[in-house]
Structures are given as structure tokens and as C-alpha cells.
């Protein structure tokens, strides 16, 4: 699993971490039961404050994505399939939001935009 | 032992040995020279007394210099128990040195003091000199200097005084030792010092540190008056000199006490001379005689039945000190105003200011001497001999022809008195 954070992007680092971990879980890179590297390891590797990493883990635990275990690294929680699907949809929506604004800015018809999307997805399938 | 390490490690540098050895040798020679009794110096000098004071004093001075240089380092402040550790080392070395010196000195047949007195004196010298250059208050430094000079030039008198009042001597000496040491290690002094630059230790020459120190000193002093704007600057050296004098130069009533500093020393010397040898004259009379003898040195009015040839030397030395001070004190124009000057022009201006300052200094000294001379002459109902004053202070001979003519011309009531 590769995690990349940009401390200078303006987006708080903990949120970047959370998004990436959520994405990895949703896309299957992280399966239920997989261990996440410890705060210490991640802090050294990414060069960010360990409290930021703790914060991300704590919030992910609240969301139900991770499970923290005292003295041991955190693990990915098993989630019900429908919950997983809902998460995936939510992530896609977040990713597409700026695209939607762009469609408006370019002055394109929503239908034309959907057609473009369809075309792209067809290309990928092949 | 590790508690004492900070002090002793600090002393373990080459410069301490070089400077220490040099100063010790110089002191030894001086004492050896003084210790030869002759009619002139014998009444004034007590070599054993001086040795008991002097060697620990030198050690104290060295230690004090090193410590104060250290306390000016920015890493010193956060060190735990730094003052306590240094103080312990300081005290231990002071005790050791004073003990050794006192033991040796008390063996000398010329000594009239017991071991304890010499020990106490040694400690006093150590504590006093440790504090000497490190004082933050300028006037305290001058007090220290005055005390030192007194001790050196009136050692016989003080030695006898000490022998007569042993208990008081012990108490005062120990008092001086303690107070001197405490001042060196006061926390509030440390706080004021900790982030200020200091001169580098005399045995080393650190170019960067000296330059930084001089610059910061001048920046801190700031211009003495409101700044001299470009509008007032004309062309020609004189205008520039005026500008520099206005900003930094030795003009103004504030500089008068500074110029007179060397004279205090002279005054104290003359006063103690008068006091210690007054015989059955009143103090005022004795002082008048001393001053008269020092300034005019007429053989018809012997100061105290001996040749007062030494006194013009004292005046000369004091005057020379002052001249050095005046010539060497940096005088700067604000950088923003000085930029159009070339380096040679700047040098000319600086020298010009120096000369001007020296001139003013001499004028002030001369004024004071003239006033004092008049007062002394009046007290003794003796003539005021201006040409003698001129020749002695400027030339050092008994008289020169030119000085005599000048003096006769200027002197009120023109008294072409015969000299020897």
C-alpha cells in the first residue's frame, strides 16, 4: 500500500491520509484484517507529525473503517457489502464534484458530459 | 569533582598559560625591582605586602576575565547550576593560590604580617581583581582601579595600617573577597550579560569577535545628539569633522568627567600622599604643599623635604593616558551620511576628529590644573608659576626657555621667578 501526503497542499494531512486509506479499502488494496503500519513507522516514512497520523486513525475508527488495538497495529475492519458499496459511491461522488463544476464552467450540456464519461469508461473496459 | 570541572576545563586553554605566564613574569620583575630599597621608594613600598596581594590578584584577574567571557556566550545561560559550579571552582582556586602565596610570603623576613593577614589580603586581591573588568557598571570599574592604584603606590602606608589594625584588616579583606566574588556570579548580572557581546580574552585575538563587539558597542551608544542631516554638510574636511564631532565627538559637558578621569587618580595619589606624610601640618596645608610641589616643583618650596622630581612623571603619564584615550576612541559618522567619502577622506576625518578631541582633552586638563594650581598657591601664599606648570606638564623638564617666556607673558602679574 502506498500512501503519499503533501503537507503543502493546504488540505490537512490527516484528511489526506483518511481519504487515501478509505480509497484503498474501497478499492480492495486493503482487505479486511490487513494491518496498517504503526503511527511511528508512518511518521518516519512520511516525515509528518505522529499526532496527525493518530488523529487520522482515530477518526477512521469512528467511521468504522479501522479497528485500533492497544499495543498492536490497527487493522481494517470487515464491513457489510452494502456499506462498502455505499462508501464507494460516496467516494466517486466526491471525485466527480469538481468535474461537475467544470462542466458548468465550460458551458456544456449535462447530457454531453455524461456521453463523454461513457466513452471513457468504454475505452477503459477494452 | 565533576562539579569543579566546568571551571577548570575553562581555564585549560593555551591563552591562559601564555598570558598568565607573561603577567606573572612581569609582576615578579616589578616586585623584584621595587623590592630593592632606595631612599625614594623605600618609604612607599612594601614588596611583601604587594606580593601577597599581587599574585592572587593576577590569578583572580585571569579567572575573572575567562569567566566573564564565558558568561557572555549564548549557550551558557541554559546550563544547569552554571554559576554555582563556576563559583566553586573560582573559590577553590583562589583559596589554593592565596594559601600558597601567603605561606611563602610569611616566610620572608621583610614581612611584618602574620600568615592569616597575608592570606586574607590575598583573597581580597583575588576577589577584587576577578571582578575588575567584569563589572557592568563603569563607575565600579573605576573604583576598582582607584583602589588598585592606591594599593600599589601606597603599599607601605597601607601595610603599616594593616599591621596596626589586624582585626579590621582581616574583616575588610574578607569582605572585599566575598563581595567581589559575589558580584562576578550574580544572577541578574548574568542575565544582563548573557546575550551581549564581550571583548575576547586578551590572550587571543578573534577578529570577528572584536569587530562585532566594537560595532555593537557603537550601535548601542547611538549618536550623542540628534543626527546631523545632510543639509548641514558642506564640502571640505572641516564640515565633515564638525559633523562627526556633533554625532559622536568629544564635545559637550558630558565628556568633561570622562576627560577628567585620569585626574581623579592623580588627585587621590596626592591626597593620600598628603595624608600619610602630613606630619604636624594640617591636611589642607599638606595637600596644598603636595599639589604645589607636583605642579610647580619649586626647590624653594620643597614638598616634603625630598625631591619631588617624580611628580611631573605622574602628570605626564596621566596626560599620555588621556591622549591615548582621545586619539583611539572611534568616532563615526552615521553610515548613511558617510558613504560619499572615500576611504582616505574618511581616514582624514577620523584623524581630524581625534586630533580635535585630543586638543579639547588637553585644554580641559590644563584648565583643571590651572584652577588647582591657583588654589594651592593661594593656600600657601606662594606665587602661581604658570611657566613651570606649562613646562612640566607639556615638556617634563624643569623648564624650557620658550615655556618660560610664554608663561611670563601670560601669567597674571608676570612673575619672572628664578628657577634652579
Amino acid at each position: 500500500m502506498i500512501l503519499v501526503v503533501d503537507p503543502h497542499s493546504g488540505i490537512p494531512v490527516y484528511r489526506q491520509l483518511m481519504e487515501q486509506i478509505r480509497f484503498h479499502v474501497a478499492s480492495g488494496v486493503l482487505s479486511p484484517g490487513d494491518e496498517i503500519p504503526s503511527t511511528r513507522t508512518l511518521s518516519a516514512k512520511l516525515g509528518v507529525n505522529p499526532m496527525t497520523i493518530s488523529k487520522a486513525f482515530a477518526l477512521l475508527e469512528e467511521e468504522g473503517v479501522l479497528e485500533r488495538r492497544p499495543g498492536l497495529p490497527s487493522v481494517v475492519r470487515k464491513r457489510r457489502d452494502d456499506r462498502l458499496q455505499a462508501t464507494r459511491i460516496k467516494q466517486l461522488e466526491e471525485a466527480l464534484r469538481p468535474i461537475a463544476t467544470k462542466v458548468f464552467q465550460l458551458g456544456l450540456d449535462p447530457e454531453e458530459a455524461v456521453a463523454v464519461l461513457r466513452r471513457l469508461l468504454d475505452t477503459d473496459k477494452r | 569533582m565533576i562539579y569543579l570541572q566546568p571551571f577548570f576545563l575553562l581555564m585549560g586553554r593555551a591563552a591562559v598559560f601564555w598570558v598568565g605566564a607573561a603577567v606573572l613574569l612581569a609582576l615578579s620583575f616589578l616586585l623584584a625591582g621595587i623590592g630593592q630599597p632606595d631612599e625614594i621608594t623605600a618609604p612607599y613600598v612594601d614588596a611583601v605586602f604587594l606580593a601577597a596581594l599581587g599574585f592572587p590578584a593576577v590569578a583572580g584577574w585571569l579567572a575573572g576575565e575567562i569567566i566573564q567571557e564565558f558568561l557572555h556566550c549564548s549557550f551558557a545561560w541554559p546550563l544547569p547550576s552554571v554559576l554555582r559550579r563556576l563559583a566553586s571552582g573560582f573559590v577553590v582556586s583562589g583559596l589554593t593560590i592565596s594559601l600558597v602565596v601567603a605561606a611563602l610570603a610569611s616566610q620572608s623576613s621583610a614581612s611584618s604580617h602574620g600568615f592569616l593577614t597575608l592570606l586574607a589580603l590575598g583573597l581580597a586581591g583575588y576577589g577584587l581583581c576577578g571582578n575588575y573588568f567584569s563589572s557592568q557598571k563603569a563607575w565600579l570599574g573605576w573604583v576598582n582601579l582607584l583602589v588598585l592604584i592606591l594599593l600599589v603606590t601606597r603599599s607601605r602606608y597601607l601595610s603599616e595600617l594593616a599591621a596596626d589594625h589586624r582585626l579590621a584588616t582581616l574583616a575588610i579583606s574578607l569582605g572585599i573577597a566575598i563581595v567581589g566574588s559575589l558580584r562576578l556570579f550574580s544572577r541578574s548580572d548574568f542575565r544582563r550579560r548573557a546575550f551581549r557581546l564581550s571583548k575576547p580574552f586578551p590572550g587571543t585575538y578573534s577578529l570577528e569577535r572584536s569587530v562585532d563587539y566594537e560595532r555593537e558597542k557603537r550601535v548601542k551608544e547611538g549618536p550623542r545628539r540628534t543626527s546631523w542631516t545632510a543639509r548641514y554638510l558642506g564640502i571640505g574636511s572641516w564640515n565633515w569633522i564638525r559633523a562627526t564631532l556633533h554625532t559622536h565627538g568629544p564635545i559637550g559637558w558630558r565628556t568633561v568627567p570622562k576627560a577628567l578621569n585620569p585626574l581623579w587618580v592623580l588627585g587621590l595619589l596626592l591626597a593620600t600622599n598628603a595624608w600619610s606624610d602630613k606630619g604636624d601640618l594640617s591636611f589642607g596645608e599638606a595637600l596644598g604643599k603636595t599639589v604645589y610641589g607636583a605642579l610647580f616643583g619649586s626647590p624653594h618650596v620643597p614638598a616634603f623635604g625630598q625631591d619631588s622630581d617624580r611628580h611631573p612623571i605622574v602628570i605626564l603619564v596621566i596626560a599620555a593616558m588621556g591622549a591615548v584615550l582621545a586619539l583611539w576612541s572611534p568616532a563615526d559618522l552615521k553610515t548613511s551620511l558617510a558613504y560619499p567619502l572615500s576611504r582616505r577622506q574618511l581616514a582624514t576625518v577620523t584623524h581630524g576628529v581625534g586630533l580635535f578631541g585630543t586638543g579639547i582633552f588637553f585644554a580641559e586638563i590644563f584648565l583643571v590644573l590651572t584652577v588647582t594650581g591657583h588654589l594651592a598657591a593661594r593656600r600657601l601664599s606662594h606665587p602661581y608659576r604658570l611657566h613651570a606648570l606649562l613646562s612640566r606638564s607639556l615638556v617634563g623638564h624643569r623648564h624650557t626657555h620658550a615655556a618660560r617666556l610664554l608663561g611670563t607673558a601670560i601669567s597674571p602679574g608676570g612673575h619672572p621667578t628664578q628657577n634652579r
Binding site: P12, G47 | I2, S206
Partner: protein
């Protein structure tokens, strides 16, 4: 003692210059705090008060639970300080200097010292007086950390270090945080470095406190809005109070806004425009911080 550094109404006046103006701060344990501010904003003065080097005109300062003016042995063995103007004993070699300072502390970690000497590339045999400013900084840092302080205060520690060494130092600071459970107080102009490792930001402007919050919260305080009008030109100027800076070109505009007061929905409706937001990083938001309160 849950706070390592606490001030109440701290004020410092130099004649008529107010260097610090009623500062109320409470720095908690185990965090890395970045102290930001322009030159002359009072950062160094604040640090000096922390160490008891300067005494306040009004108010109180407590470091490690003790009034700063009375810091003594027990507190000083747990504090490490790297000042901005570094003056060391010029005549010693690096090795001698390290040994000298180690005498003062009951515990001195030789392994850490050797490791840092290697990582920061400091030659132990060079004479301190001959060191460049960068190397002086390295030595000053090593002197301050080998006794495992619980409070480490660094005033502009990286200004003279090259990027590689800087990076290693910042990594090391993170390690100190975790290994020693230390609190680290760093002031630096290099905001990019500060941003990487701090979790709390304190910002001073002309002696006053303009920010005292977590870095993440601070990042959420401001935002950049890119605006595209849906019908015709945008007004020449937006008068909404939350708009801190604006740059309007015809149908498009770029605004810097105060997020707390901003209402994006109302704005979009009122001005018939679409807004894309982007958070600001520390470097971008710094000018807003120091001018927002000052004007």
C-alpha cells in the same frame, strides 16, 4: 503539570515600543509547536521570556511549572535551548565543546551525539571559532538535545542549513518528539519546513497573538475561492466581510476568504456564480494572518 509553557497577560515594553502585548499562551506537552511571525513580531522576545533571560513588564511566565525568572537546576536539565545568535567558546574544538557541556548534565547520550555528528556532517576536530554559521547551528543543536530534554526550544534553527541537512534535522525532531515524549517549540521563517512537522501553530504579529490553534484547524480557517459567473460580468468589488483579498477579472475572480464567516451557498445564489474552493497552505495564508488583525 500539563503545560510546559504558560503565560498570562504577558506584556513587555521597551521604552515606548511594545514588544509583547498581553500574550495568553498555554503550550501543552508532547507536541511540536511552530512559532510564526514576521521579523520584529516578538518571537525571540517570547523565547527569551521563556528562558528567564528577560523579565516581563507585566504578566507572568511559567516554564515547566516554575516562574521563568527562577529556573534552576531541576528545570534546566530538562530544557534544551538553541538561540538565534549562537556564541560558543571559540577556542575549543567541537569535541572538547561537547565534552564541556556534557559535564553539566547528569545524563548525556553519547550515542545520540555521535549519530547526530554523523548525520548533520559535523567534524569533531574542527575548532569552533573557525566554523561556518551553518556548522555553528549544527553544533548548537547537538548541544541542546543530547541530554534528552523534555522541552526543546529552537529559535530559527534551520536558517543556515542546506536542504539535505535540514531534512535530516526535521526528521530527527520528530524522533525526539516520540522517543523523549518532548515538547518542541520551533520558530522559523521557512514555513514549508514548519508545515511538515508541527501540529500546533502560534503566530505573533507586532507583539500580539493572532493565531493559537492546531495546524489542521488553522488550515480550515481560510480558503481560496475561484468564481465563475453564470450570467455576465461579476461586480467590480465584493463587499462581503469575509472576503479578505480579491482579484476580479471580468467573469472570473479569485478570492481569499475567512472560512468561519463565509457562506458559500448564499454567495453562489446572490452573485449567480459557481464557486470552487481550495484550502490554503501555510505560506499562502501567512500574509492573511498577519494583516487580518493588524489593519
Amino acid at each position: 503539570m500539563d503545560s510546559v509553557f504558560e503565560t498570562h497577560s504577558l506584556t513587555k515594553r521597551f521604552d515606548d515600543l511594545v514588544a509583547l502585548d498581553k500574550i495568553d499562551l498555554k503550550i501543552r506537552r508532547q507536541s511540536i509547536v511552530g512559532l510564526l511571525g514576521r521579523n520584529g513580531s516578538g518571537k525571540t522576545t517570547l523565547f527569551r521570556h521563556l528562558m528567564g533571560l528577560q523579565l516581563p513588564t507585566e504578566g507572568t511566565v511559567e516554564t515547566m511549572g516554575t516562574p521563568a525568572a527562577q529556573l534552576d537546576h531541576d528545570e534546566l536539565i530538562r530544557i534544551g535551548f538553541v538561540p538565534q545568535e549562537i556564541r560558543l567558546l571559540d577556542w575549543m574544538t567541537v569535541q572538547q565543546h561537547l565534552r564541556y557541556v556534557s559535564c553539566f548534565y547528569p545524563e548525556w547520550d553519547m550515542d545520540r551525539q555521535k549519530r547526530l555528528q554523523r548525520e548533520l556532517e559535523l567534524d569533531p576536530t574542527s575548532v569552533v571559532g573557525a566554523l561556518s554559521t551553518g556548522n555553528l547551528q549544527k553544533l548548537a543543536i547537538i548541544l541542546a538535545v543530547c541530554h534528552h530534554p523534555q522541552l526543546l526550544v529552537l529559535d530559527e534553527p534551520v536558517s543556515n542549513l542546506d536542504p539535505i541537512v535540514r531534512g535530516r534535522l526535521l526528521e530527527f525532531l520528530l524522533e525526539v518528539l516520540q522517543e523523549d515524549q518532548a515538547t518542541i517549540l520551533v520558530s522559523s521563517h521557512v514555513l514549508r519546513d514548519v508545515e511538515k512537522i508541527v501540529d500546533w501553530v502560534v503566530c505573533l504579529d507586532r507583539g500580539r497573538l493572532v493565531a493559537d490553534e492546531g495546524l489542521d484547524e488553522l488550515k480550515e480557517r481560510f480558503a481560496e475561492w475561484r468564481i465563475t459567473s453564470r450570467n455576465g460580468d461579476l461586480p467590480s468589488r465584493f463587499s462581503d466581510t469575509f472576503v479578505l483579498e480579491q482579484d476580479i477579472r471580468g467573469r472570473e475572480a479569485r478570492l481569499l476568504v475567512d472560512n468561519a464567516q463565509a457562506d458559500i451557498e448564499t454567495f453562489q445564489v446572490t452573485h449567480h456564480a459557481d464557486v470552487t474552493t481550495r484550502p490554503l497552505n501555510l505560506e499562502e495564508m501567512f500574509p492573511l494572518l498577519v494583516s487580518a488583525e493588524g489593519e
